[in-house]
């Protein structure tokens, strides 16, 4: 049937935000993931190795350090929660890089897909990848070391949510940098998060840091999460002040990182980078 023969009645814009298009992109990344068992194995491999390594360190330190002995599983909890942040960031960055490696951005953005829908799909995939990576490690900690991170209860959900959201913000900033500087900036996806590890006070209290670095640390949601975790393990109570700070800072950073990403995307359209990116 010729197009002109179709009854016509003016322009109706496509939905501003479509869950179906978000679902389509999640499907795209899921197809990629399920098509390669080594990729799925790799997701769980490093968190499990880290958990085993830090579990034995935890056991050894507990016998020689009162601080570690008092906080049962403090190092195992720390390493598992750190992996939530790392995997959360990596989940966003790597899913984005998949589009760069396959030179698919040109097709995606001549389709009705909106950048905000793409962001949402990157976050969903990050959540899936993080769960696939961290859950087996957390489960294995129980038979290995007789310690269950799930014993943290409801606060664990709050810690997890704050760390993964921080990972998303970081991931989006890295994506914006790759859009700006091209594949030469690809390595940032694997290294940037480790710049934050010392000031996130993952394995030690923030007070260990020099004064000026403590100021930096309190500006990171992750420091509040790890302090909150230690507060729970040592004092048995949830520090709501740390949780509130982590949530507030995350909200701020998320707005900023989405803004930076959308600006980076706009600049990529100005430079023509969407059709030219690739290895």
């Amino acid at each position: 049937m010729p197009h002109d023969a179709i009854p016509q009645s003016g322009i109706h814009p496509a939905a501003d935000f479509s869950l179906r298009r978000v679902g389509a992109m999640v499907l795209r990344y899921w197809y990629l993931l399920r098509g390669s068992w080594p990729r799925i194995l790799e997701l769980a491999y490093w968190p499990t190795m880290q958990m085993i390594l830090w579990g034995y360190i935890n056991q050894f330190m507990a016998s020689s350090s009162g601080w570690v002995a008092q906080g049962a599983g403090v190092l195992v909890s720390a390493v598992l929660l750190w992996d939530v942040l790392f995997r959360g960031q990596l989940g966003v960055s790597v899913s984005f890089l998949e589009e760069m490696w396959s030179r698919n951005l040109g097709h995606l953005f001549v389709s009705p897909l909106r950048p905000t829908e793409w962001i949402a799909s990157l976050m969903v995939m990050s959540l899936l990848r993080t769960l696939i990576g961290v859950l087996p490690a957390a489960a294995l900690a129980i038979p290995f070391f007789g310690y269950s991170v799930f014993g943290l209860g409801f606060p664990l959900i709050a810690f997890f949510a704050n760390l993964i959201v921080m990972g998303w913000s970081l991931g989006l900033l890295i994506v914006a940098l790759i859009l700006r500087y091209g594949m030469g900036a690809e390595g940032l996806a694997w290294i940037v998060v480790f710049m934050l590890a010392p000031v996130s006070a993952v394995y030690y209290p923030v007070t260990v840091l020099p004064g000026w670095l403590q100021t930096v640390a309190w500006g990171l949601p992750s420091s509040h999460v790890f302090e909150g975790m230690r507060g729970l393990l040592y004092g048995g109570t949830l520090r709501w002040d740390h949780l509130a700070w982590a949530t507030g800072l995350n909200a701020l950073y998320m707005v900023l990182s989405v803004g930076v990403f959308l600006y980076g995307f706009h600049r990529a359209r100005v430079r023509g980078a969407l059709l030219q990116t690739g290895e």
């Binding site: 049937m1 010729p2 197009h3 002109d4 023969a5 179709i6 009854p7 016509q8 009645s9 003016g10 322009i11 109706h12 814009p13 496509a14 939905a15 479509s18 179906r20 298009r21 679902g23 389509a24 992109m25 499907l27 795209r28 197809y31 990629l32 098509g35 390669s36 998949e98 396959s102 030179r103 698919n104 040109g106 097709h107 995606l108 953005f109 001549v110 389709s111 009705p112 897909l113 909106r114 706009h266 359209r269 100005v270 430079r271 023509g272 969407l274 059709l275």
Partner: protein, 284 residues
């Protein structure tokens, strides 16, 4: 190859003006300009004040040498490249302000923009079918696979296909939403003559069946002569001439579009047709 069947318009696809009102051109570019910065701090003009319209239902060729601005123009028409100045309207919709209203009604294919290699053909087409808001996705994918002779490859990774098979997959992706405006960047580049002919035949039938508007950039003069009823000749970011293939041949006093192309690429004639082949040859 089986005969294509009409496909219902995807959800969210906008409609055009009622029959009593003259429809807007399928494509309208107005004073379209694109400058790119150079490493020295200056700018290079890729497209220079380009203005043209493409009527609905036609096949228009965009011809020009390397660097003439064809791909830049197509990228701006699609909205993946923002113009430095000027305006693009597709099906009467301003692409700068309402791009997402018209994207469900158009599509694009290029051998230089690939589909994910590790996904199978079926997976790639399924993802894009959902992105375009199609209903009955499985049926549509199967239908296109049969029309484009892809059924045997549906479960194979896209990256493992031959150039001709990849081109057919890219075309299938471009036709998923039965687009009213189809932009093709060198649709038969690096294909053997048999496969290229097959693609051209398919495009001819698609246009005849749907009345779609097709704009194709090509270096293949025979392809342009065969498919296009209008040709835009580009050089250095500008349209230097325009007309039906037969009219261009007559204007330049040539027997093939390739000769016309060479005349224009080498700037031997003017758009007014004042110079002739004999004059151009004499000038050499």
């Amino acid at each position: 190859m089986t005969e294509p069947t009409p496909y219902p318009r995807p959800a969210g696809a906008a409609e055009a003006a009622p029959p009593s009102v003259a429809p807007a051109p399928a494509i309208a570019a107005t004073a379209l300009t694109k400058l790119f910065p150079t490493p020295g701090g200056g700018t290079v003009t890729a497209v220079d004040s380009l203005s043209f319209t493409v009527a609905r239902g036609g096949v228009t060729g965009l011809l020009g040498g390397n660097g003439a601005g064809k791909t830049t123009t197509i990228s701006m028409l699609l909205g993946v490249l923002l113009p430095t100045s000027g305006r693009v309207d597709i099906l009467g919709v301003d692409m700068a302000r309402h791009r997402h209203a018209v994207l469900p009604r158009m599509n694009f294919s290029s051998p230089y923009v690939e589909l994910p290699h590790r996904l199978t053909v079926r997976e790639n087409l399924t993802v894009y079918a959902h992105l375009y808001g199609l209903t009955c996705v499985k049926k549509r994918v199967q239908e296109l696979a049969e029309q484009l002779d892809l059924a045997r490859f549906l479960n194979r990774p896209s990256g493992g296909l031959s150039a001709g098979q990849k081109t057919r997959v890219a075309l299938a992706k471009a036709l998923l939403n039965d687009p009213e405006v189809l932009l093709l960047d060198e649709p038969t580049a690096s294909l053997d003559p048999d496969t290229a002919d097959w693609i051209r035949t398919y495009l001819e039938r698609y246009r005849a069946r749907t009345g779609a508007t097709i704009l194709l950039a090509s270096h293949n003069m025979l392809e342009v002569e065969r498919l296009c009823d209008d040709v835009l000749m580009m050089r250095q970011g500008r349209i230097v001439d325009r007309g039906a293939p037969a009219a261009l041949l007559a204007r330049y006093g040539r027997t093939s579009l390739e000769e016309v192309f060479l005349d224009i690429a080498r700037a031997r004639t003017t758009a007014t047709g004042a110079d002739t082949k004999a004059e151009a040859d004499a000038a050499e």
